[in-house]
Amino acid sequence: MIDKIVDPEKLRHFPPGGGKIELYWLYTSGKAGNEFFRKLREGKFIAARCKKCGRRYFPPRIFCEFDFSETEFFEISGEGCVEAFTIAKLDLNENPMEEIIALIKLEGTDGRILHLIGEAKDVCIGMKVKPVLKKVDEMTGTISDIKYFKPV
């Protein structure tokens, strides 16, 4: 009674392959993103502080979403603490996989990063973690320049 067929292709024939949307974009990472990914090549992490209320944002951004005023960048350690985690066992197309994904509160900020956990036998909420970066020549200026976070 619980398992139902939700894929209509299993019930009757449709045009082979169905429809396709082939669309591609360049996603601009912006001033804050550029600054972050450039500094990451030097092994440094940056966050942004609101000039008005002092809230410390990670991911960094150029404006404070509460005051609608400007921010300034500052350096942080990149280390943090696991706030929540999940062990994902299904990929985008619902095929098997396994990855630990965590919401990590970053030290010295009021913000978080959402990333993978690696080199960990066990994971728990409150666990201290630090980033593992790709080699500089493998970096592409994207979030995957951080390979994962591992226990401190």
Binding site: P8, E65, T86, A88, D91, L103, I143
Partner: protein
Amino acid sequence: MPAVVGVGYYGFNTNTPDMSWKEIMYEAAVRAYEDAGIDPRRDVDSFVTCAEDFYEGFAIFDEFVPDQLGAVVKPTCTVCADFLYGLATAYMQIESGLADIAVVEAHSKASDMKTFGEIIRHAMDPIWLKGVTRAHPYYFAALEMSYYMNKYCISEEAIAEVVVKNKGNAILNESAPYGAKLTVESVLNSPFVFYPMRKIEIAERADGAIVFVVARDEIARKITDSPVWIKGIGWWSETSSYDTRSFEALYAYKAGKMAYKMAGIEVPVKEIDIAEIDDRFAFKELQHIVALQLAGKFEVCELMREGYFSRNGSLPVNVSGGNLGVGNLLEATGAQKSLEVVLQLRREAGRRQIDCELGVAQCWRYIPTASGAVAVFGV
């Protein structure tokens, strides 16, 4: 105060291989107009549809709308959000004097999507989030669940109770495809797919279309003997950023407050008789019950265990079967919630009828959002 004077729906099914998305909209519309006793070509002043282009698989959805609703050469617009946002739009059009009778539509043809995970992934921030993992975006809800369970000591049993209750309620709903008789134990023994979330706690997708006919006060009284008044409506967005959001459904709390204030409701838990709440992940029902002020954040688990929210309980929640029993209806989620409340208030809910005069319907805009809307209906 505008009232719902007609409802029509088609569905809800795990898939609909015999009908196109346009045809299910047509079926729902014909039934709603018959229910209200109106002719759309003559009587309706404005049509509002609710759709997201990515869910449809083609762009500029509003251009594809008029014909199947009887709206050709009439004022028509599409709201890119859940049905409840469309209902708010119709409400404002009527209250401002632009329309006397307005129609609101929402649908889901989820079974047409071959890559649901990929589509939802496109809703994630392309710089900071999308590239992190190729896991199904369900992971994002599981993270919120992990955070929520840890912060408020939410038990696995309470979440399992939600699954048992809603799938059980769905057995009495002929339109709900995912009904099942389960026990808490069988839920707890079922597999995890995104620990701490089990597969059975995730609402499967469903197809369906829903149409409401809404009319101005005096016209509503002329059209029908059983108008269902839209007493309050509200919507609210927290933030798109995962670093600043509360992860405890602040959007539902604020949207609820907006709707309750309009409806003159001071103590929701005492005044509301029935609630249909977004439960597309089982833990979300607990979170939303608290956000809508229907239980305290530390007592919700105990109340769920005691049966306070069951069909025979003091405050029935998701008598229809909820999304766990009816299915994930995408942008029609709030429509199915509203439909159940309206049918209950009109005493047309058949075997699942409960005694009620005031009900609340709530929707969330799904992964990865912190937005949602709430409507209060009364007779």
